[in-house]
């Protein structure tokens, strides 16, 4: 329960940061992570987007249309220009974004980071 409350604090504080600044920070992180992926993994991901399959970008709040267009261009560079990209919203992510490929997910969300932290604490707690 304390961790859920902590997540709610994070959600409230994040809302204080302008959307434009948040979106820029997230897309930069996504670009860096895609660049850092081993070539085999990146090739596998781009192969999944052939034959008209869609990459779905999920964010906690809707991206303004101009920002979404910017993300389309910037994601197209590493993943292939002309790929189909759709945008969806899932408030449970709290912050950050997720890239949903047909057979893989890349998570940059705060929800995922908080889950990893929680899991680590649970393992520690259960060991005592």
């Amino acid at each position: 329960m304390a961790l859920d409350l902590g997540a709610e604090f994070a959600r409230r504080l994040l809302a204080e940061v302008p959307m434009q600044a948040r979106a820029e920070a997230w897309i930069e992180r996504i670009e860096q992570s895609l660049k850092a992926l081993p070539k085999t993994e990146l090739d596998e991901l781009t192969a999944q987007l052939k034959d008209g399959h869609t990459l779905t970008v999920v964010t906690a709040s809707p991206l303004p249309p101009a920002t979404a267009d910017g993300w389309r261009n910037r994601l197209g560079r590493p993943l292939g220009n002309g790929i189909a990209i759709a945008f969806e919203v899932n408030p449970d992510l709290i912050g950050g974004a997720e890239l949903h490929f047909p057979a893989a997910v890349l998570r940059f969300s705060w929800q995922s980071a908080l889950a990893a932290l929680r899991s680590e604490i649970d393992v520690h707690a259960n060991a005592h």
Binding site: A103, A104, R107
Partner: protein, 156 residues
């Protein structure tokens, strides 16, 4: 003698140290999708690294056992309520072969296929887990066990 507050501070310090070393780098998670479901069996596309008898987790938390590994699809026995599973549902691998708790704590208990309680009681407290699929004991070993039980039950 340490108080509860001391213990809590100690636990917090240890937790902070562990969290400092935890990497929060994004990870690539492979997923599969249900292409067909019926009669307690789901056909899953994707998850190319799945092992035979691996435990898979479906959307909603239902678990399944990979029992048939094809070139493109996986046949999976569902071990829970299948109502929430539909074509297109996401499936995740666990990398672990299905294992169940074993031991005397199971005696008299009603559990599901993964050892989770169905009798409204607490989960059985066991220290051992055993793979669901494994070779059956040899006939000689089984006979020995039966003889041992028979002799112990006849002892006054």
């Amino acid at each position: 003698m340490p108080t509860l507050t001391d213990d809590l501070h100690d636990w917090l310090d240890q937790s902070r140290r562990r969290l400092k070393t935890l990497s929060l780098e994004p990870r690539l998670e492979q997923i599969g999708r249900v292409v067909q479901v019926g009669d307690g069996v789901a056909t899953v596309q994707g998850l190319p690294g799945t092992r035979l008898d691996e435990l898979l987790i479906f959307e909603g938390g239902v678990r399944g056992l990979a029992i048939d590994l094809g070139e493109d699809v996986i046949g999976c026995v569902l071990l829970g309520d299948t109502c929430e599973i539909a074509s297109g549902s996401i499936v995740r691998g666990t990398g672990e072969v299905a294992r169940v708790p074993v031991g005397e704590a199971l005696l008299g208990r009603v559990v599901d296929a993964l050892g989770l309680p169905l009798d409204g009681e607490e989960p059985p407290r066991t220290t051992l887990l055993s793979a669901v699929e494994q070779p059956a004991p040899a006939i000689v070993d089984r006979s020995r066990g039966r003889l041992r039980r028979a002799s112990s039950s006849s002892t006054p």
